[in-house]
């Protein structure tokens, strides 16, 4: 039965009203009295030596307050990297500096060289044109394999080469994996590219730095997914501002998808400049600027080999991946191709031996970091493509081959160091076969063929790891941050509640879903509970939102804090009811004495806590406010099975997505409407990656896809309605809500389904095409069909 409130209810989103009426408060909507504007002069060459920067003419231009260059940041820290990977040989990765404004060299198109602060943006932009640059262009490295060649130009002169690290996982498995592949009955090999993407949240990044001389306090308003992470990184590592003098506010944020996790130069700049100038400084990215300064995503080149025995059991997997880091290490970049990718290579299958090798490479391109799924889509794509190819080579049904190799017992320890607590891959596959109407596919194919079209069916599975944890383990793996989250539940005297959470909502609907949990626990109305997030001066130190972690990690902290509230409130109630604490029950917002009709209402207890006239002051403190930090004991492991059906025009190569179905296991679900929306959005982005999106550099390092004219964003006509289901739920065994996380599943599970479907369509037309790299544009598909 669908509920109408509390956990499991499709409560309508309360934040929608402000967004639908134009009353949202995004960072660019914030204006500080007297603010100046900054315009960044960015490199238009991919690699060059800065011989001189002459700002004298620009400084004299109307309205100019000051022109900054890299030299102004003497003694200021660079942008830090939050994850140190150790290579196959036990050595730390190469970690070059990342200046706020370029010093000595420019290393990618878009690298900021100078910053002009002026009274208006127009004045700043005009003055930037008067800056005289002498930059000697150097040969650029763009292709990863070429970047590793002897004698290749070096992105960072001080490093031995362009290799950031050469990582092996699990290194001790290597010899056994090599042996298993040598002795296999069949080995399927696939070389593929996971195309470089730009996350493109619709709100471009914005940063406003404000400085209050009266108390020496800085405030940064920024489009961030994690204000405390920014406060820590920027305060402690870049600018040296003590945390109690630094406030970071991320108000309404217009989408993030990972790219707003990282600490960016522009944030540090506006904070730094506002202190220097004693005046607020605002920066708003144009979309063109976003393309060349937001961290990009994916960009892996991979060879994967899958070994099978004579009965088609998977016996070993070996992969070799080149992962593009871009010109500098963005905040969490090193973790993406390693710990967020290698650990997922078992997928849904009981392959006993796995070895993953990753070479991370510096190139003269924009830094690459986490984008929706971060490493997990790359793992899923190669695995599900190679399994599909193996099925085709062996002439077996791709679903049957998957089922035969599914992990069936939990907990399951993979050979890549993680332990899946729960799941049921057969159930999601059964559900998929039903909701995708696989039984009707042959008839639909005939209909397509009657029109002269080809029709293909693509299936895949995925496993995800969400809520990255626990902190002590990730610390060993190189994380330079904890990965807990925190919540403070503040019950007010009249019984309403403010919950301050470390998680940040930039589309996920926390303001609606989180109160559903607390309301359920207390038996009070959702509308009495408000969620406060996004302001480091209001919330406890929390890690923000990424990696589908909000409910699993921060939601768990909120549950723990609410449990403390209940415990204390019961004490107060037992005093008011003159009963023993053990006999007090909380139900429907009322405390009652078990087995009697004596009760006291929620509001009477909360009032007593703040007006403690009749109160056990000798036993407990007044007030009703509790904080909890929650550090999960494991990842959560959502999983699912996806199906895509395409129609392909053999004349033009154009692919149309006809049907798309997703059966996910997210464990327990708090708000099914929001969960379905998350899956829809992820599928939309996955279809974008598979068919449309591609971030392209030419051989000189010029960014060719730098606007929506050249970077194809999925639009309403590119996608169908999706059929989604999350009824196969195996609750997470180690967090109090039994939830797993749903934010990235769609983007992880959908690209292989689309590509598998297109290959199936081509094969049905009698052409033996086994692989095409994404995006499957008409041109690429058509060309592949001509060979």
């Amino acid at each position: 039965m669908p509920k109408d409130s509390g956990i499991g209810a499709a409560s309508k989103r309360r934040e929608d009203v402000r967004f639908l009426t134009g009353a949202g408060n995004y960072t660019d909507d914030i204006n500080v009295y007297g603010q100046a504007y900054v315009y960044f002069l960015r490199s238009d060459v991919a690699h060059g030596r800065i011989n001189s920067i002459d700002t004298s003419a620009a400084s004299e231009m109307p309205g100019v307050v000051r022109v900054f260059t890299g030299d102004d940041f003497e003694g200021v820290g660079g942008l830090p990297c939050g994850w140190q990977v150790t290579d196959r040989f036990g050595q730390p990765m190469q970690e070059p500096g990342h200046p706020v404004l370029a010093r000595g060299k420019v290393r990618h198109v878009g690298d900021p060289i100078a910053a002009v602060v002026a009274d208006t943006l127009q004045q700043a932009r005009d003055a930037a044109e008067a800056i005289e640059l002498d930059i000697e262009e150097l040969p650029a490295v763009v292709d990863m394999k070429a970047a590793l060649n002897e004698g290749a130009a070096k992105v960072h002169d001080e490093l031995p080469s362009n290799l950031c690290y050469d990582w092996g996982f699990v290194e001790d498995n290597k010899a056994a994996v090599d042996e298993a592949i040598k002795n296999a009955a069949h080995v399927t090999t696939l070389e593929l590219i996971n195309n470089r993407l730009v996350a493109n949240p619709m709100e471009p990044r914005v940063a406003v730095g404000d400085y209050n001389r009266a108390n020496d306090e800085s405030t940064l308003y920024t489009t961030s997914q994690n204000p405390h992470v920014i406060r820590l990184l920027m305060g402690a590592f870049v600018l040296g501002i003590p945390e109690h003098k630094l406030r970071v506010v991320a108000p309404d944020v217009g989408g993030g998808f990972g790219t707003k996790i990282f600490h960016y130069a522009e944030e540090a700049f506006v904070t730094f400049a506002s202190r220097k100038l004693n005046r607020a400084v605002k920066w708003t990215a144009s979309r063109s600027e976003a393309f060349m300064s937001d961290a990009h995503g994916r960009d892996h080149v991979t060879k994967i080999e899958l070994a099978l025995d004579a009965d088609n059991n998977f016996t070993a997997i070996r992969t070799e991946t080149y992962a593009n880091m871009g010109a500098y290490l963005s905040t969490f970049a090193p973790s993406v191709p390693t710990w967020l990718h290698g650990t997922l290579m078992a997928g849904n299958y009981k392959t006993p031996l796995i070895y993953v090798n990753v070479k991370a490479v510096f190139t003269n391109t924009v830094p690459v970091d986490a984008y929706r799924g971060a490493g997990r889509p790359e793992a899923t794509y190669q695995l599900e493509r190679v399994v599909d190819k193996a099925a085709r080579e062996l002439g077996v049904d791709p679903i049957a081959l998957r089922r035969q190799n599914f992990i069936s017992e939990f907990p399951y320890a993979t050979p890549v160091a993680v332990e899946y607590d729960t799941g049921n891959y057969f159930a999601t596959m059964d559900k998929l076969e039903e909701i995708a109407d696989l039984a009707g596919f042959d008839a639909r194919r005939k209909e397509s063929e009657a029109k002269g079209m080809l029709r293909g069916l693509g299936i895949n599975c995925y496993i995800e790891a969400c809520g990255i944890a626990p902190s002590n383990l990730v610390g060993q793996l190189g994380a330079r941050a904890g990965l807990y989250d925190a919540a403070t539940v503040r019950v007010n005297a009249t019984g309403s509640i403010s919950v301050m959470v470390g998680a940040h909502s930039h589309g996920q609907g926390h303001e609606t879903a989180f109160p559903q949990v607390v309301a359920d626990m207390l038996g009070i109305d959702e509308s009495m509970i408000e969620i406060v997030h996004g302001d480091s001066s209001k919330i406890p130190f929390g890690m923000g939102t990424y990696g589908s972690r909000s409910l699993a990690v921060c939601g768990s902290a909120m549950v723990r804090a609410t449990e403390k509230i209940i415990k204390k409130a019961k004490k107060i109630a037992s005093h008011l009811l003159e009963a023993s604490e053990g006999d007090i029950e909380l139900k429907d917002g009322k405390f009652s004495v078990a087995g009697t009709d004596k009760s006291v209402a929620w509001g009477d207890v909360t009032l007593a806590a703040y007006v403690p006239h009749n109160y056990p002051l000798e036993d407990i403190e007044p007030g009703l406010e509790e904080t909890a930090f929650y550090d999960p004991s494991n990842f959560t492991y959502p999983s699912g099975a996806y199906c895509c059906e395409v129609e392909l025009d053999p004349e033009t190569g154009k692919v149309t997505i006809e049907r798309f179905a997703a059966a996910d296991d997210f464990g327990n679900v708090v708000n099914p409407m929001i969960v379905e929306g998350q899956v829809h959005g992820g599928i939309g982005q996955g279809i974008g990656q598979a068919l449309l999106e591609n971030c392209v550099y030419d051989s000189e390092g010029q960014l060719l896809s730098a606007s929506y004219m050249d970077y194809a964003m999925p639009r309403a006509e590119d996608v169908p309605f999706y059929v989604v289901d999350h009824s196969c739920a195996t609750p997470c065994t180690h967090n109090p809500l039994g939830v797993k996380g749903c934010g990235e599943a769609g983007a992880i599970g959908s690209p292989p389904a689309v590509v598998n479907a297109v290959i199936d369509a081509i094969q049905s037309g009698g052409k033996n095409v086994l692989h095409i790299d994404m995006p499957l544009s008409p041109q690429r598909v058509w060309a592949a069909m001509q060979d």
């Binding site: 639908l20 995004y26 949240p201 619709m202 606007s707 059929v723």
Partner: protein, 161 residues
């Protein structure tokens, strides 16, 4: 600098603007009506759509002085004065047609105009009408569903979950 006057959401407004001031800048920065958003610089995303003299227009493609004397409606002017949301706005909430909300003002303005011109569009017509509006969050599913629902059509059968 030249003076421009126009009617925005029923209110007479005026201001001094430079010749290259965009309508969207005039709305957001001079009038501080920040409901209309800017998502790109190539007239592709539709976050900035407003109604100008009864037409849906990307306000980043129009100069403020070109709107001299025009009647303009922005997202702030769509709900009733008592705050009741319009049919389209309400349908977006009912069907979860928004997540981060950044594309939403443009989506609502485009959808409102579509339904004025074509009161019961097909799914294909809705998708086509949204070709100039990009949403990165929703995968469009619930936006299309919300617009069909706002037109009074039965959406309960759509990709039944």
């Amino acid at each position: 600098m030249a003076k421009v006057s126009m009617t925005v959401n029923g209110r007479a407004v005026s201001g001094d603007v430079a010749g290259n001031r965009l309508l969207v800048e005039f709305l957001r920065e001079d009038l501080r009506m920040t409901g209309t958003h800017v998502g790109c610089d190539t007239s592709q995303c539709g976050a900035c759509v407003v109604h100008v003299n009864g037409k849906a227009v990307k306000s980043c493609t129009m100069l403020a002085h070109e709107a001299e004397g025009a009647t303009i409606t922005t997202i702030e002017g769509i709900a009733s004065p008592d705050g009741t949301m319009s049919r389209v706005q309400q349908a977006f909430q009912d069907h979860h047609g928004l997540q981060c909300g950044f594309c939403t003002p443009g989506m609502v303005m485009t959808a409102t105009k579509l339904l004025e011109q074509n009161p019961t569009p097909t799914e294909a017509e809705v998708r086509h009408a949204l070709e100039g509006n990009i949403c990165r969050c929703t995968g469009y599913h619930n936006i299309v569903k919300a617009i069909l629902a706002a037109s009074g059509q039965d959406v309960s059968k759509i990709a039944a979950e």
